[in-house]
Symmetry: C2
Subunit: 195 residues, 2 copies
DNA sequence: CGGTTACTTGACTAGCTTCAAGCCTTGTGG
DNA sequence: CCACAAGGCTTGAAGCTAGTCAAGTAACCG
C-alpha cells in the first residue's frame, strides 16, 4: 500500500526521522499509527524465547507496514526496526479511516494490498515446508525474485538475514550456498550472491 | 468472512456437494469462485516435492476460503480438499464483486477478514521460529486456543494433522506430546489431547 | 468381526546446530 | 594515508536430535 505524500500530510501525517537500529514499534505493543516509508529500510521480525529472529520482511521506499494489527485493534505480532537511517510518515488511525472515507477507491486498494500479502505469505510457507536447507533457500530465492522477476540478479541480503528469513543458521546458509554455487545453482562472486 | 446464504443464492451462488476426500481446488489452478462452507470441513494445504503436506488451515461451517488469489487474479498457492462430506456454495467472481458493489459495507468486512488472516499468519510464523518441537507445539496450541479461548479443551486434530500443521513428523509429535504430558504441560487422556 | 486407519515404540542415522577460531571487508579517526 | 575496530563471512570438529524405517498395537467402521 502507498498513499500520496500530500494526502498523508493534509490529513495530519507527520514525517519522523529514525536512526539506524531504532525501533518503530515492538512486538505486543498496541497499534495506533499507519506507517509509510519515505526513505530508508525497515525490518519487520518476530523473535523467539532464545532471541533468535525470524524476518517477516524488509521494506523500502513508499512501502507501508503494520496495517493489519491497526485495522483489527490487535497488538503487533512483530517488531519493526530501522535498518538504515529512515524518514517515516506516521498517521493516526482515525485519520487513516478519514482518508478511506473520503476516498472510497482506497478500499479496493487496501483489499488488494492485503490479499497480495496473504498470497505472498502463503507462498512463503513453502520455505518452511522444505525439509532440507537447499529447498528452503531455493524457495526463498524464488519468492524474492517473484516480486522482481529479472533473469539473474544480486540478492541484497546478508547471510545472517537469509538465515533469519529461512529459519536456518548462518553457518548452514553459508555451507549450503557454497555447495549450490559449486553445483551452479546459484552464483557467488566476490562473496556476493546472485540468483 | 461469511455472506448471508440468501444473498449468495440471490446473486447466483450454487450449493454443491463434495465427497470426503474430494478436491475443491488444487495448487496452481486459476481462481474463479468464491467458496463458502455450508456443511462439513475443508482442509487447505500446500505440499512440497516429496509430497509432504503443510496444513494452512482446517475450516468448518460458514467459513469462506480461497479469496486472496481470487481477489488478485493469481493461481491458488494451496490445495483445498474436503475432509468430510461437504456442502459448499460456489459463486462466480463477478457475482461476488456485484455483491460488494451493492453492499458497500462488505468492503469493511472483507478488509477486516483479510487483516485478521494476516495477523494469524504472522502469529503462526512463531510455530516455525521455534527451534525445538516443544516450542513449535506450544505455539501451535496457543494459536489454536487464541481463536477459541476456553480454559482447557480438547484439541480436535489427529497426530498427523498436528504434524502437518507444525512441519514436524508424526513420530516426533507423538514423542514430544508424551513427554509434555509427563511434565504436565498438556493432558493426554485416552489418546485424546487436551490443552 | 475383519479391514482400515490412526497411533505408538525402538533402533539407527544423517545432517543441522553448536562452539570456537580465524579471515576478510569496510569504515573511522588520528 | 594508515591502523585499528567492528561486523560479516568462513571453516572445522563434535554432539545431539529429529527424521527415517520397520514393526506392532489400539481404535474405528461397516
Amino acid at each position: 500500500m502507498h498513499l500520496d505524500f500530500n494526502i498523508l500530510i493534509t490529513y495530519g501525517g507527520v514525517a519522523k526521522k529514525y536512526q539506524k537500529g531504532e525501533y518503530i514499534f515492538r512486538e505486543d505493543e498496541a497499534a495506533y499509527f499507519y506507517y509509510q516509508i519515505i526513505e530508508g529500510e525497515v525490518k519487520l521480525f518476530s523473535s523467539n524465547n532464545d532471541g533468535k529472529e525470524l524476518i517477516q520482511g524488509i521494506f523500502g521506499k513508499d512501502r507501508s507496514f503494520g496495517e493489519p494489527p491497526l485495522l483489527i485493534d490487535k497488538p503487533y505480532p512483530s517488531t519493526a526496526q530501522a535498518l538504515t537511517n529512515c524518514v517515516i510518515v506516521k498517521l493516526r488511525k482515525e485519520r487513516l479511516l478519514n482518508i478511506i472515507n473520503d476516498f472510497p477507491e482506497f478500499s479496493i486498494k487496501i483489499i488488494n494490498t492485503l490479499a497480495t500479502r496473504i498470497y505472498n505469505k502463503a507462498n512463503a510457507v513453502h520455505i518452511w515446508v522444505g525439509q532440507d536447507p537447499e529447498e528452503k533457500l531455493i524457495t526463498f530465492l524464488n519468492n524474492y525474485k517473484g516480486t522482481n522477476s529479472k533473469e539473474i540478479e544480486l540478492i541484497p541480503y546478508s547471510r545472517q538475514q537469509i538465515a533469519d528469513f529461512t529459519g536456518l543458521r548462518v553457518e548452514t546458509v553459508i555451507r549450503t550456498l557454497r555447495r549450490m554455487n559449486e553445483e551452479n545453482k546459484v552464483k557467488i562472486i566476490d562473496r556476493k550472491l546472485y540468483y
